[in-house]
Symmetry: none
């Protein structure tokens, strides 16, 4: 039996609220063997109290050893097996700039490039033109019209942009036109099935018109496209869990991921303080809240151990504002680890704190990686966090009699 | 490769006996954060000694967050993935009253209901007639004869009964005839494929004859049927594990579940003392014994913490009678948790005690939930308990050369 069908069949509704607080890249590493991680170094009296009353565990974002990007990392936390539910490169790039993909969209990542007189690529990134240049060139491309489809061209950064085709009967089995080499021309687009072939023909028309519009540009006189992908088919939070879900996130990527699973986006917060204000204002209107806190990841990527510690302490200081709302289930975790020592996302399991009245308490006395190893939730794949959340909220009925 | 095929290919026979003692709903919760569970509160010197010598762990009945009924809970312990091997509602109801389903049976749950003069349902449960009334009405229905099939009608409780059709070429893809509403008539049965269509036609004939037989009844003058299901296809203990298996259980549900996997039922015990006597008497005749102890679940459902503690202590006191028989592998666990705090089955992992001469001992000093968190078996899905049992009994050969 399909796992999501099982879940759906068990869902019961009540008024108990679930709050998922994702501190991006929360998991860390000690700088020296035997030392403390960022989370263990931080003074976190509020998290520690919740850890004493609740249950800890370790979340494996995808599978042991697999380092996830933000897409799979969040899909896992949201309850979608990241190996089964894939977000194509183009769709993820569009999502990451806050573009709301619709059902019949096909998205691709675009690169401006430099072509010589023979049409061969001399620079695959057009000298990394500044973002303002990218914006100007995208305006040009927006004048292109193609029969039967709506087109969207969105600047990303430097030489990168997003192309979205919207219309019935499109397909995304289209090859990359980037040959991944210089001295050769961009490839023709071809489709592997009839809808994709139609899409490829439209893409080739787009490229031909773009070449004319860009012909006089000194650097960015060509373009390549890759990662063609449709909007991923993800059952929504409402369908899957019967939850009216809201997302309170600052950055476009996480807002986009939340929208893909049917969460409503609340406001345009610029800070954690804004986020908490939105949470209070909307508390009565939703069953589930996803709050995304970015700074534990960015300080990890910077390799700034002290800054990450401080960002964790700032989050801890804000917790009483959340617990004051009395969620039935409060979860604090990350979508992956971002150890300062590695200055990047990593595969290490992520500490999870689950607080609820129905928790089986465990011996854990504080919130940290070593302590979480003896937590009652054990080590588990992130995709099971939502079932655990629902269960602790009394929102999952019995399987079988 | 199919997991059960792997297991089958590895099975070796010897004379080492395995005993699985299931304390139903064993896992619990502390009443207050940081407190002790029922099992941790109970004085269990015998279990504690076994815990010191053996290995502990935590069993996840189905998947994290999923609360199982008795069916999936036991299928997991017996080594059948509860998401793959489903027992339909009708088949489980028949099993639960000790009806032995055969290969060509289709079972359904029946409700007596009250119909008005137009044949519309006015009470879906016929005023919850007393069980004696149900028995009397079932006697009437037993006079019904249909061509080509054998019929069984069995009372359950109050307005509930079980209908079983036995014969070649039946199917269970038949809709519920209960419209789940009053003011409308029961639905016609329809089949989704030819064998099920034949079954549906027989069911409609049965209902028509029953209507005549019940016409003069003041309350229970109609009936509805739901949960049509065939006997689940479960490879037997003999096929799968090469084990001659016996079940010693008091209650019909667990006797029925054991029979579905090919265990032989020993006697008609009425108490733990009866069960232990049957165990001694039959010790030489089987390789595997399943003993079911109900009272840890019923006291949990009652929310009676002290009573559950006492039932655990009574079980502990009986253990020397079991160890005196010198099983090669002794397992004590539950099919799910039934915390008194929740007064119901729950999703929380269940402590497992596995004692064998081939155990790797772990630091655990007593049998309890917190202690089991640092047990050598870790947290694992219940379906892997039987392979662990076979391995510790030296009954599983090497996989691959």
């Amino acid at each position: 039996m399909d796992w999501h069908d099982v879940l759906k069949s068990l869902v019961e509704k009540n008024d108990r609220k679930i709050l998922l607080l994702v501190a991006d890249g929360l998991g860390g590493l000690p700088l020296e063997p035997g030392g403390k991680t960022e989370l263990e170094t931080a003074r976190t009296p509020n998290l520690d109290r919740l850890a004493q009353e609740g249950t800890l565990g370790m979340s494996i974002p995808v599978k042991p050893g697999i380092t996830p990007g933000s897409g799979p990392g969040h899909l896992g936390l949201f309850g979608y097996d990241p190996l089964r539910f894939l977000i194509g490169r183009g769709a993820l790039e569009a999502t990451g700039i806050g573009f709301h993909l619709e059902e019949h969209d096909v998205a691709a990542r675009g690169n401006f490039c430099t072509l010589d007189a023979q049409g061969n690529i001399t620079d695959r990134r057009a000298g990394r033109i500044p973002t303002e240049e990218c914006v100007r060139l995208v305006e040009k491309l927006r004048t292109i019209r193609l029969p039967g489809v709506e087109l969207f061209v969105e600047p990303v950064r430097e030489h990168r942009f997003v192309l979205v085709l919207r219309g019935e009967g499109l397909g995304d089995a289209v090859n990359d036109t980037d040959p991944q080499a210089t001295g050769v021309p961009p490839l023709e687009a071809r489709g592997a099935d009839p809808p994709s072939q139609r899409t490829a023909e439209l893409v080739n028309q787009f490229v031909a018109q773009a070449r004319q519009l860009l012909a006089e540009e000194p650097q960015a006189n060509g373009l390549t496209l890759r990662g063609f992908s449709a909007r991923p088919k993800l059952p929504s939070y409402e369908e899957l869990y019967g939850l009216r879900a809201a997302a309170i996130a600052v950055y476009p990527m996480y807002r986009g991921l939340a929208r893909l699973v049917g969460m409503e986006l609340l406001g345009q917060p610029q800070s954690l303080e804004d986020q908490l204000k939105l949470l209070r204002e909307n508390w009565d209107r939703y069953d589930f809240f996803f709050i995304h806190y970015k700074y534990t990841d960015s300080t990890g990527e910077d390799g700034n151990f002290q800054a990450k510690v401080q960002k964790i302490e700032e989050l801890d200081a804000a917790l009483p504002q959340i617990t004051a709302l009395e969620p039935a289930v409060l979860i604090v975790t990350g979508d992956h680890s971002t150890p300062c020592k590695l200055r990047s996302h990593s595969w290490h399991p992520v500490p999870v704190l689950l607080w609820a009245d129905s928790c089986r308490t465990d011996p854990c006395q504080s919130f940290g990686e070593t302590e979480a190893l003896r937590g009652g939730l054990g080590q588990f794949e992130a995709q099971y966090l939502m079932p655990l959340a629902l269960a602790h909220a009394g929102r999952l009925g019995k399987y079988g009699a």
